[in-house]
Chain length 649, copies 2
Amino acid sequence: MSSSALDAEKIESKQEERTANVHRLDSLNLLIFTTLLVVVVLTIWVFKRRNFRYIHETCLALFYGFIIGAVLRHTSTSDTKTNILKMNDTILPKNNVPNYISFEDSNMSAVYLYSFQGPYQKDTVPLDEHKVMFNSEIFFNLILPPIIFHAGYSMKRKNFFRNLGAILMFALVGTTIACISTGIMVYGSVHAFSSLDFFSFTDSLYFGAIISATDPVTVLAIFNDLNVDVDLYAIIFGESVLNDAVCLVLANSIEKYVAGAILDKFDRTLMLKSLGNFFVVFIGSFAIGSGMGCLTALMTKFTYIRDFPLLETTLFVLMSYSTFLASEAAGLTGIVAVLFCGIFQAHYTFNNLSKESQQRTRDLFGLFNFLAENFIFIYIGITLFTFPSHKWDMRFIILSIMAICLARVLCVVFLSFILNLFRKNPISWRWQMMIIFSGLRGAFAFALAIRNVSTHARSLMYTTTSVIVIITVVFNGTLVAPVLKLLKIRMNVSEEIETTSSRDRYRIMGNNNDEQKKQSKTWLLNKWSHFDKIFMKPLLTHSYPPLTATLPPCLLPITRLLTTKEQRTMSRNENSLSNLTPSMMNSDDSILNNNHTVPTLELIDMDNSDDYLTGSNFKSNTRTNQVLDTQMDPLVQFDDDETLANNIG
Amino acid sequence: MSSSALDAEKIESKQEERTANVHRLDSLNLLIFTTLLVVVVLTIWVFKRRNFRYIHETCLALFYGFIIGAVLRHTSTSDTKTNILKMNDTILPKNNVPNYISFEDSNMSAVYLYSFQGPYQKDTVPLDEHKVMFNSEIFFNLILPPIIFHAGYSMKRKNFFRNLGAILMFALVGTTIACISTGIMVYGSVHAFSSLDFFSFTDSLYFGAIISATDPVTVLAIFNDLNVDVDLYAIIFGESVLNDAVCLVLANSIEKYVAGAILDKFDRTLMLKSLGNFFVVFIGSFAIGSGMGCLTALMTKFTYIRDFPLLETTLFVLMSYSTFLASEAAGLTGIVAVLFCGIFQAHYTFNNLSKESQQRTRDLFGLFNFLAENFIFIYIGITLFTFPSHKWDMRFIILSIMAICLARVLCVVFLSFILNLFRKNPISWRWQMMIIFSGLRGAFAFALAIRNVSTHARSLMYTTTSVIVIITVVFNGTLVAPVLKLLKIRMNVSEEIETTSSRDRYRIMGNNNDEQKKQSKTWLLNKWSHFDKIFMKPLLTHSYPPLTATLPPCLLPITRLLTTKEQRTMSRNENSLSNLTPSMMNSDDSILNNNHTVPTLELIDMDNSDDYLTGSNFKSNTRTNQVLDTQMDPLVQFDDDETLANNIG
């Protein structure tokens, strides 16, 4: 072997050795996270056994993250710290560093830089390489999609749709107002009181967008435990889910506007373009998400893949994930797409799945959601101490907190006033206070902030967002129960429904249904609900009545093709039912409204939604299965309908 | 704003734009994979419906990968190709390129380089950065662990342990012989017939190690469908699972030897060191894997976390993954650790889990396994066309194939001869042929090969391994059924057991147990089995008899602490049983051997192992649950034992 070849091999094998060391540290870092997650799980278990329900797991995850962050910070030698600082100064302009911490590995007697992606040896660290990319890639491609999909998939859709007006108002209009007003307030106060003159107006707006994403996961867990009024729950939940999407699109639009403004000089039409972009992205993502949801429903309806539950579950997971990817690849926002995909999957596809897959998909996304959420909070905790490009400015933090509080009060009070002009069940001031109080900032705001820490302004935003997330999660999270009591908000609302048997509950739902419908449904919602029942549900699921009954007879050749055997069988049972209870079949409306699939399904949704996190799903799952059994077996349904009919007539 | 600041912002926003574009392409690439997986799932479904069982999903995945790879290759312009080649020549010495393909994105009017990690723009691509790191990180940290864990977790342990001698012989001794003999043959023939003089002897040995990892997933799926003799199944399955681990450790040892030889000059003691390293790594990984398995069992036994199935499942998943990480962080091999962790989790922890978690964990890892496996085969298919650092050499491929065939025949025949000297149930020549024929190369060999393509020799290995994987999967996979018929190997063996009811089967198992034990268990295995029953099972699970009964009375204070309420309750039932059937309790041996947990558990393992992939798990799960019910309820057990006792006495 020639000596140059030997030299090359030497370098080679040294590189390989370094790679192996890097890999070991990488594993060690991940191991820290997994161990912390295990500790979180065990602590939650202890709390649950002792019925100590007022500290949420996200608080725990934050807390453990803190501790480890502090330990890592203080075990890293001062030498290392100065080295890093020197590097930052020399290599990177403008504090351009990735998130890493450092520690001494005595075995390898070399200082490694720890980044979230993995540690690099000091002399070869490709610092600016991973600057913006990594965290956003991990957070937005792996960690957030399951959280958002789970939110859509496990949503209590009935209450959600009943309060759709308020939810859309708060999420779309409210968030936009909050974003702009926070931006203006921050910009004004920053330039009036402090010397942060690098903080431009677009920076302020961008900050307004990322900090307006609310995430009341702690609040909702406690709502769930205490059975707080379902409508209030639905409004807070619905707002927070949709407003994540709105904030993301707003932030992207502002970024695009800034990019455009710098590259093409300032352009008058740019603002309009950005506004247009906002709607295009939102509507496009909605279209992809709902489209993929419907496609999955069609696939599962007509392929009978449910004979093979593993394949079915796999298909479901893959289709849901490709919704995200397709939307991202098209330059839209996957998060919005995946949210609506989740809603559509739950509304249509879920009914076509086998029992195993229904259970499995809910379990799977429940598990992913749990892991992803706690992972983020641990990460927030750790990085508060160890992230090197923090930019602390107490005045800015205090000003921001004041601004977001003021903006939230303004939005909620103003929009509630407008909503109460139209609502039959007005939003009381107590509810308004509770909605304001539930404006926690969580994982999503953090993820938006960490996407980019390349400038002074962005680092400042990142640090401030971290602090705000921690303060709101700990402070508001802990005080929910006292505040609920203070505001005298109705609790244990659904208890009478919870304690009765499934058949009784079925009857209650059936009785309440019509009244509630007339009470709170808006015109648009009624139209959609009608369309859903005569076209969407019969087309996408095995529900009754089939398309052959709901669409005009001239379309029979097509509708017959789109009707499955199950639907035809059900149809026959339904006909015999109609002979028994002719009164129910007289008006066209009652055929549609009294079809048994819809109320049963809504009942299931009520049961399954948020119990995962509280650990009480064992009980609720068995209940759900009972209901499902009832739904699957036409004879039992028939039986139930008879009871229902006897009860009504 | 000053003009320099504006310039900086311009660069900034350009970078951000590029990041966004990179992200879009990234999503597009992942979308291709997910779409292909969806197509694979749908095709499998079609095949299953038509009862066309002779093409396995891995073949399908390979096939679809081919097509997309070919399309991607031919849609990339020739311009791009030359650009890439030019870059390789100028930037990188020795063909030092990561795996990427290229395609023209007309929208962005720029050529992007596609790597598995994500595409980079031509001018900024940090080529040698990701050379070795990425694929190994993804494959070895995310894709392989679930596959290997699933193998351990779903193993038919009863037959596995019955044939442990043969399995260990084939996996440990056989693989080492195969590695060395393949290495020698390849080195000899390469230097005799062709001009690949850069291929050193250590390269040959390394190639021998990576190409000796067998992966008969296709064969076993068909074995499962046709109910081929369980002992043959166990030998082939066990060998392939353990030999992945052996190959990995061998390859690492050889790499370490090479690194050491280059850095410290050639040293006589190095060879011994590498050999020592082999055993240290293997035993260390085994210790971590089994230790973590036992720890999880203890956790789930004493915490009663099973009251909260979601927490329980999460804990299980986290503990299993941290086994992998802990082992990697300690510089050992996570794959080996995770394999034994899986076996221990199945043997102990599984019994402590709630029914929900038992089902969920099996489903979850079944799903991960399915996705990971098909992902790898799609990837193999795609990269065959698009991987730029392929090094094709037909002579080398042909020589390698001849070498591995020869080595396999040699090993199997030689080791079978030795084994047959001791086995009461000898390995017939038909079985030997079948074992030889099942020596497919699969995902693991590919993963080992793609870990490092930094030199000519490694590229050559990579290309050759790809080709061998494809040939063996397609050729051997398709011909299993005809070969089985040709060799007249017993099929439909377990059918008489399959068709009888669970209680009858229980009786059959109970009757056969003692005879089989005496027939085929070795001395060591009997010792272990005894230790397992008097110490491990009572300590780690809720099984009967408890430690208070199996250990000397002087340890009572400790053993009482380690015995749970369940075990005490069971104990009382058992005592009343002993009053009924005193004959069973006379000899110490019968207390231990006739305890009801063990045969029931083995029955469960028989049912659940490989049905996931075949889609028939719906049926088998219900069966399993019946058996579990029997196991859970002490009264039913009592009943069963009575039947058993009546039957025997």
